[in-house]
Amino acid sequence: MIEHTSIRESSPTIDYGMVDHPGPVSWSDAARRDMAAIFARYPDKRSATLPILWLAVREFGWISPQVEKIAAEILGRPLNEIHIVVTFYTMYPRRPMGQHHIQICRNVSCWLAGAADLSRYLQQRLGIGPGETTADGKFSFSEVECLCYCECAPAMRLDNRYVGNLTKTSIDQLIGEK
């Protein structure tokens, strides 16, 4: 018999620990206006769940138990349904993130172009592993699956833009600029 490990536990990129906001959270007026525009796009309220959660990330930085609660209220859905959605997707952060998020692709085309080596290099340089944030709060690091930028492998997503044809030198430069 081999001991059983579930996929979730063995996955290095998913962390189920959720961190709450220290104080109470509430939507800003701007967020409430954007919310109205979001709801207007869909024939029902439930369809607005993903965009409302994106709005929450913009507003509060990450989805905490408190944020789940106010999102559930706005959407008129039970809290557990919101939690199921939040934890299904990889892009809703569930804890405070660093100022910059480095997501390096580990899938096959990038791997063929040396991504594993670059990932190790980055981890050494930053002193953190996948799913972690540097002590000064500057960088968070993740290994992710295919970004579909394979034509420019090895590739990463740095905050909200793609960077390809990576080398150690270009990584040094990108990090140095931040």
């Binding site: 081999i2 490990t5 579930s6 996929i7 063995s10 996955s11 990129t13 796009r41 869909y42 024939p43 029902d44 439930r46 369809s47 607005a48 769940t49 993903l50 965009p51 959660l53 994106w54 959407l75 859905r77 349904e81 199921i84 959605v85 299904f88 997707y89 990889t90 892009m91 809703y92 997501q103 580990r106 899938n107 096959v108 085309s109 791997w111 063929l112 172009a113 040396g114 080596d117 992710v144 699956e145 295919c146 970004l147 579909c148 930028y149 394979c150 034509e151 420019c152 492998a153 997503r157 909200n160 833009r161 793609y162 390809g164 044809n165």
Partner: protein, 434 residues
């Protein structure tokens, strides 16, 4: 070389309305509105335009499955969730020619008589989201979208819906669930989306690239478009070529272009002049081919006949220095990570496959492990709600079967092959960089 959907790539500000219009955007709308929806659908059927998201289903035929008498609203859902490893094409259209996509959406909505379309774009695609959203705003302001479309008594609204990181949401029914605000768990079919799709209403789901060819079917006429490709595979398509080639990139080529020509002519051969070891022809879910199998036309039917698939046309090239055991580990890790967890054979099977291949690579392989991998894969195939399970199992079966001695060598702890480092430098991108 004729280019259609990538024609405007490289033109400055090609994503803005004024530049797009001066290069032909929206010029096919009048001709489309002059046709009845039925005639337009018949034209697309005749063009042999296939679904380019992966399954290759004839586009026009899918449209014709919508129930004629349903009182419910109809929806068009555009699949821009691009996620198949080795595929990097839809973003090029969304970034460089969003107005072409919108034109394709308008024509398709006229054909299926839908007044609302959603474009589901993967969450990581910030620039594509930005350009498509801008294009919609510009098109609305110019009277191309809204209560009327360029003066025609036809209302159309397009909404961009951003995903949040889940490969499975590219599968059409998972995508619909996700659009409805749920986790992306695929639905059992039937009912097919054409009958019960978004909000249980008749829905057509089509890929970004598929819809971007629709204006060209109208412009050229069905037969000339069909003639560009091979039998029953009309037109051109975008081939993403990556991995160990000298010139990786996205190439728009006629359907049925031979795989050998793609690797050796367009992508300028294997890195460093090394020998070819294997090719995945259609994204990582497609069974792998060996060098003696590359004289094959790259279209849906030819590849299916050879036991693999064209899928999303993501061509991934492996040279002689790559360990197929290590490569398979990278592939399997992806499926284990992305399995949505709904069906037990897939959830457990992919996790076990990953565990076993890792164990083999840690020199802890056990005598029955290679057969175990085949057995687990066969237990996944056909036993899941959606084709993800097959997509995970097929590459394992093909890779283990075709490179069995390599796997056995690792298990025996003989002289296993390990992957050598890559090329030093990269040559640029033939179609475009983001």
């Amino acid at each position: 070389m004729l280019k259609l959907v990538t024609k405007n790539v490289g033109i400055e500000n090609s994503h803005t309305l004024s530049v797009a219009r001066s290069h032909g955007a929206y010029s096919r709308l009048e001709a489309a509105f002059a046709m009845t929806p039925e005639a337009l659908t018949a034209e697309v059927i005749k063009s042999n335009l296939r679904g380019l998201g992966g399954a290759g289903f004839p586009a026009g035929r899918k449209w014709s499955f919508l129930p004629k008498d349903s009182p419910k609203p109809r929806y068009l859902v555009v699949n821009g969730d691009e996620g198949e490893p080795g595929t990097c094409k839809d973003k090029i259209i969304m970034i460089h020619d969003p107005h072409l996509l919108i034109e394709g959406i308008i024509i398709t909505c006229w054909a299926i008589q839908s007044h609302k379309a959603f474009i589901y774009i993967r969450g990581e695609y910030d620039l594509p989201v930005e350009h498509v959203e801008q294009a919609i705003v510009e098109a609305k302001a110019a009277g191309i979208l809204g209560e009327t479309v360029m003066g025609h008594d036809f209302a159309l609204d397009i909404v961009v819906h951003r995903g949040a990181g889940a490969y499975i949401c590219g599968e059409e029914t998972a995508l619909l669930e996700s659009l409805e605000g749920k986790r992306g768990w695929p639905r059992l079919k039937p009912p097919f989306p054409a009958v019960e799709g978004y909000m249980r209403c008749p829905t057509v789901v089509n890929n970004v690239e598929t819809l971007s060819y629709v204006p060209y079917v109208v412009e050229m006429g069905a037969q000339p478009f069909a003639d560009l490709g091979s039998e029953r595979n009309g037109g051109l398509r975008m081939y993403s070529i990556s991995g160990r080639v000298n010139r990786p990139g996205v190439y728009e080529l006629p359907m049925g272009t031979p795989l050998r020509e793609m690797i050796y002519d367009h992508a300028q051969g294997v890195t460093g002049g090394r020998a070819l070891k294997a090719v995945i022809p259609g994204g990582s879910s497609a069974p792998i081919l060996t060098p003696d199998e590359i004289d094959v036309p790259m279209d849906f039917d030819s590849l299916a006949k050879r036991g693999t698939m064209l899928g999303s046309a993501g061509v991934i090239v492996f040279d002689e220095t790559v360990s197929m055991v290590e490569a398979l580990k990278v592939i399997i890790r992806f499926y284990a990570h992305e399995s949505c967890g709904q069906c037990t054979p897939c959830r457990e099977g992919t996790a076990w496959l990953e565990k076993i291949v890792e164990r083999i690579l840690d020199l802890g392989g056990r005598p029955g492990d290679v057969d175990n991998m085949l057995r687990i894969s066969r237990n996944i195939m056909g036993n899941t709600i959606c084709p993800f399970g097959d997509g995970a199992a097929l590459p394992v079966v093909s890779c283990v079967t075709k490179f069995r001695p390599e796997f056995e060598a690792w298990v025996r702890r003989g002289q296993p092959v390990t992957t050598l480092p890559v090329r030093e430098a990269h040559i640029g991108e033939p179609v475009a960089a983001v």
